[in-house]
Symmetry: C2
């Protein structure tokens, strides 16, 4: 599936780095034996970890650096002052063609700022967006932006819709994905200028996406559309609210099964099924947010994830490469730049 | 508890009105025998329903009108052209003192527009907000705004924080409720101008609320704060996303218990406990959003709720009256208008 793909890893990003990064790379290697890794970070920490996993060591080249981006560093500072950080060097490896993609569990804002500066945005894209999969009643959907752009105008939302559409077609393999715009109601008059303006353009006859219209928060989990488009503020809050709700629900359920002897017995009978459900909804399975709209593959892992989650984030980067998502988005954007849809509408 | 409270009901608002409204009033009356209802709507529909419930009929005065606000009516149109609608007449009853509060399951935007026009906002409040309770790990919290104000500035958010604080103290009975501002991260630099500006003011030494700082989406269900403050766009999406996630989780769980014979047996043992959990998380229990900041008590019920949910919305209005929430907010705002916190900060 993934013939000869090379992934650059920021070994120092994430709460449990570098151990989680090394173990995650090992899990990913078992799934995709053809991956090669460039590991950027503190040699004295990374090398002993690799020594314990010979099969992984053979697939890894370590590039030493003592510097790392702090979790609370301002993106602008990390960009200007951090040219020797593990994060920056890993991104540089994508820019100069040594790697096909980069994965980091470090500071999100810094990763976006550096990736945007080093890898540039694709022609026709003003601002990259953070996209991720999530489970729905109908399977899986993709949502963007999840936090790269706190404020978005009409044009940004239209570009997110185009990128999300191409992404769903290539990575999810959908023929004609439906695109919805997150709003506070489904009627035309609802929302702010940005969503109303984007809706008008996406609804036009020359729009290249299959636009479903406005959707509301409860339509996300219901799987009402394949691609959920929103600004980074709303998207970030929505995805974290969903995570928090699912976690609370899981805790309540667990507490319920400890509530009585009868419930404990019930749990014994149902535990295999419940374990399957837990696996299906495991947030680690959905770890790995894609920075869409960049001239290179960059994937952000949750900072608090473990090796299993980090391996999934690596898998996202590998899938992006294997499916040629970047090239397809580039072609699609070029096609659109010659079509009447790209410029601002006359009315 | 609720000595002699009179509630005006919009009998024609909601998907299952007027049947759901009448049955909901009956359930509420059993809980609070001292309520009296003014029921506004189509007599020919309401009277036969009341005839079947003699104990309720004695507590209800029907005010006939043929007009009702359509679900898709623009708020401005409903306000200007709908002076004889069931919704408008019910709100009028609060304004002229015949009723202590109004409950409607009709068009949210119209209800807010008419209530704001008829009941006016409290001195010191520019815009009313929609507030509601929700279940958390620690019990219950209150969140506002849930959709009244799609765009909010710093001043609106500060006012929401003050109103939410007073509300939590009076209705939830908390001594020093913590207030959090919903954002895309917890660091000072995160977010837009409105949340950063509001944070600076709420954090100041003269701020009357116990400000926790920024919170993220997953902090809502975790119960990190007692009062969650946000703009109406984000709040609306967040609360609906949480509802959708909880619903999906419930469906997955139900499907899991039908998955195998063993799981079905497990369900039989655990069903009492699971039923309790379902009751605890039943969205109908949290039905009834309060319009905070108005000069009268107005409660909005979910349009799709049933009699049980509508009875809870009536209960919210009764609690607001019993706890004197309106007077307490009024006193608090007056006190603040003389304190150095109210005007824009010098820096």
């Amino acid at each position: 599936m993934s013939g000869g793909v090379t992934i650059a890893l920021d070994a120092m990003g994430g709460d449990r780095a570098p151990g989680m990064v090394v173990s995650g790379a090992d899990i990913a290697l078992q799934r995709h034996p053809e991956i090669r890794f460039l590991l950027f970070g503190a040699e004295q920490e990374v090398t002993p970890l690799l020594a314990k996993i010979p099969r992984l060591a053979g697939a890894v080249t370590v590039h030493h650096t003592d510097e790392a981006v702090a979790d609370d560093a301002r993106p602008s500072v990390a960009l200007r002052a951090g040219r020797q950080t593990s994060m920056r060097l890993a991104i540089d490896a994508v820019a100069d063609g040594r790697a096909d993609g980069v994965v980091s569990a470090g500071n999100t804002g810094a990763l976006m700022a550096i990736a945007k500066f080093v890898l540039k945005t694709l022609p026709g894209i003003d601002r990259p967006a953070i996209a991720s999969f999530f489970p729905t009643r109908r399977g899986e959907s993709v949502m963007l932006d999840l936090g790269a752009n706190v404020e978005c105008d009409e044009e940004n939302l239209v570009q997110f819709a185009l990128m999300g559409d191409v992404f769903a077609r290539t990575v999810l393999g959908l023929i004609e994905p439906t695109v919805g715009l997150l709003n506070v109601g489904s009627e035309d008059m609802k929302g702010n200028d940005a969503v109303r303006g984007a809706s008008t353009r996406l609804r036009s006859a020359v729009s290249p996406v299959h636009f479903h219209g406005f959707i509301e928060g409860d339509d996300i989990a219901a799987g009402a559309v394949d691609v959920v488009v929103t600004d980074g503020f709303t998207g970030n809050v929505a995805v974290k609210t969903a995570e928090g709700t699912a976690k609370l629900f899981g805790e309540f359920l667990e507490a319920a099964f400890h509530h009585s002897v009868s419930a404990r017995i019930g749990y014994l009978f149902a535990r295999r099924t419940l374990r399957k459900l837990r696996m299906r909804l495991d947030p680690r399975r959905y770890n790995g947010a894609i920075f869409l709209g960049l001239g290179g593959i960059a994937v952000k892992s949750h900072g608090s994830t473990d090796a299993f989650g980090f391996a999934n984030a690596i898998g996202v980067a590998v899938d992006m490469k294997a499916n040629g998502v970047l090239e397809k988005i580039r072609v699609e954007l070029e096609r659109l730049s010659q079509a009447p849809f790209a410029p601002e509408p006359a009315l």
